[in-house]
């Protein structure tokens, strides 16, 4: 199962490397979000520093949605989804493969856009960077795992681009609350580190619960 999942992820990433369609769009979109935020919150103002943790996750969520939308729709053009379903592998390995591909792309987008955000808003990190990376990792993990699942679900609809955000945002709200709080504490106020740790635990618990749940339920979503 793992092998086929990696194969599928490799296929997705390889075709992405050839076209560079989704990744470029995601990164440019992330840049545009930063631009819009610079209009909304004056970068010269000191209070703007307080919204940076939120902005990071707005970037992740909005550019993530773009990638998630494409991940299953791209399989529809030549009806390759049918091919994947008929191929001798579990539905869960399709899910795992798609998840790995989306997760990798999400990480690349974060790797490019977040340093840019810090640079453009002149944000000085006074907390710990390893913990920040950990939070980005588990937050994106949870967001992309449930996002891939719901993208598979929404792909059955003709208007899946509109449907996916409606499904995804309410369901991921615990993650977003958790990671925004944790990011804020870690980046600006290390004294309350213990509560950041509690948030990390909450988000990890969410990740585990929903990853397992998605794994169990994906068979019903990806039925021929």
């Amino acid at each position: 199962m793992i092998k086929t999942a990696f194969l599928l992820a490799k296929k997705d990433l390889y075709s992405e490397l050839k076209t560079k369609q989704v990744l470029t769009t995601m990164i440019i979109f992330a840049g545009l979000v930063i631009l819009v935020f610079s209009f909304a919150f004056d970068p010269a103002n000191n209070t703007t520093k307080a919204v940076i943790p939120g902005v990071i996750w707005v970037i992740v969520v909005f550019s993530g949605i773009l990638g998630l939308n494409r991940s299953f729709l791209s399989e529809q053009r030549n009806d390759t989804m049918q091919g994947l379903l008929i191929a001798p592998m579990d539905a869960s390995s399709i899910y795992l493969g798609k998840f790995l591909a989306n997760f990798t792309m999400m990480l690349v987008v974060e790797l490019v856009s977040i340093p840019f955000l810090f640079l453009l808003f002149d944000f000085k990190i006074i907390g710990s960077i390893p913990y920040f990376i950990l939070i980005m990792f588990i937050g994106s993990f949870g967001f992309i795992s449930i996002g891939t699942f719901l993208a598979a679900l929404a792909a059955n609809s003709k208007s899946s681009e509109m449907l996916l955000p409606l499904l995804l945002f309410p369901v991921t709200s615990p993650i977003l609350i958790g990671v925004v709080q944790a990011t804020r504490i870690i980046l600006t106020n290390m004294e309350k580190f213990s509560s950041a740790l509690a948030w990390i635990q909450l988000v990890s618990a969410y990740d585990v619960i929903f990853f397992v749940l998605c794994f169990l339920l994906i068979e019903y979503v990806l039925e021929v």
Binding site: I146, N156, P170, A198
Partner: protein, 253 residues
């Protein structure tokens, strides 16, 4: 697609037995609902004391809490029937899940309208980003999304499958949402709810508790009645579709 459409037409005769027993149950349910609701109204407005600090406005509390309890019950029923559908694959389970979610959504809307009306006079603000309120709002959005999946185009069994999956995901999410928001907003929690709900829960006025319990049961029986009627209605719709399909076939041949 056309192959899938074919599956919708099934033979009709199975439903005879349902017709025989159906007229009596809804009538009983309707009777119980009417009696309970009238009792609840009497208990609310005549029997229960008028709350000291909030006055008459507090009367909305009985229907507010009753609707909230009913909504949660409805979503729990959707959750159970979603699992049952995925296991058994019978259409009736899907019908129950969908009707229950629909009624639950209506009751959640009721909670979200009565809540601010009460809050405006009790806390002097329409809305507070407080755990219970925020969770209810997110709940409303989740089941709105559920309804959007329902509205999707396609064959019924695909929609039923996806809805069942989302019904399970959505319901599992609710406790986590509540937990996360409670952590997020701990500082508001005691202040907001100290003067309202928890006091009565603690048993300050017995007659208020009685009124509350009766109104919860009244709304629950209303829910049961609506569920019964809704399922009946859906079944009729399915039957009409089958007749249409049969007619179409007859015309073609």
């Amino acid at each position: 697609m056309s192959m899938n459409l074919e599956r919708e037409k099934a033979t009709l005769p199975l439903s005879e037995s349902a017709d025989a027993k159906s007229p009596i149950l809804p009538k009983i349910l309707l009777g119980i609902t009417i009696v309970l609701i009238l009792t609840a109204i009497y208990l609310t407005f005549m029997y229960a004391d008028i709350e000291k600090t909030m006055g008459v406005v507090q009367k909305i509390f009985y229907f507010h809490v009753g609707s909230a309890a009913t909504a949660f019950t409805a979503f729990f029923v959707t959750f159970i029937f979603s699992i049952l559908y995925l296991v058994k694959r019978k259409r009736i389970f899907d019908t129950y899940a969908s009707v229950s979610a629909e009624i639950g959504l209506i009751f959640t809307t009721l909670v979200l309208t009565t809540g601010p009306i009460w809050a405006k006079s009790a806390w002097n603000t329409w809305w507070v980003w407080e755990p219970r309120l925020t969770t209810t709002l997110i709940l409303w959005f989740i089941y709105m999304a559920y309804m959007m999946i329902r509205q999707m185009d396609g064959v019924w069994d695909k929609k039923a499958r996806l809805c069942a999956v989302f019904g399970i995901i959505g319901f599992t999410d609710v406790p986590i949402v509540f937990f996360a928001i409670r952590w997020w907003q701990t500082k508001f929690h005691p202040i907001v709810f100290g003067n309202g709900v928890s006091q009565k829960g603690g048993g300050i006025a017995d007659n208020m508790l009685v009124a509350l319990i009766v109104s919860i049961f009244a709304l629950l029986s209303l829910y049961t009645y609506l569920l019964n009627r809704g399922v009946e209605f859906e079944n009729m719709k399915i039957k009409v579709d089958q007749y249409k399909e049969k007619l179409r076939e007859d015309l073609e041949n």
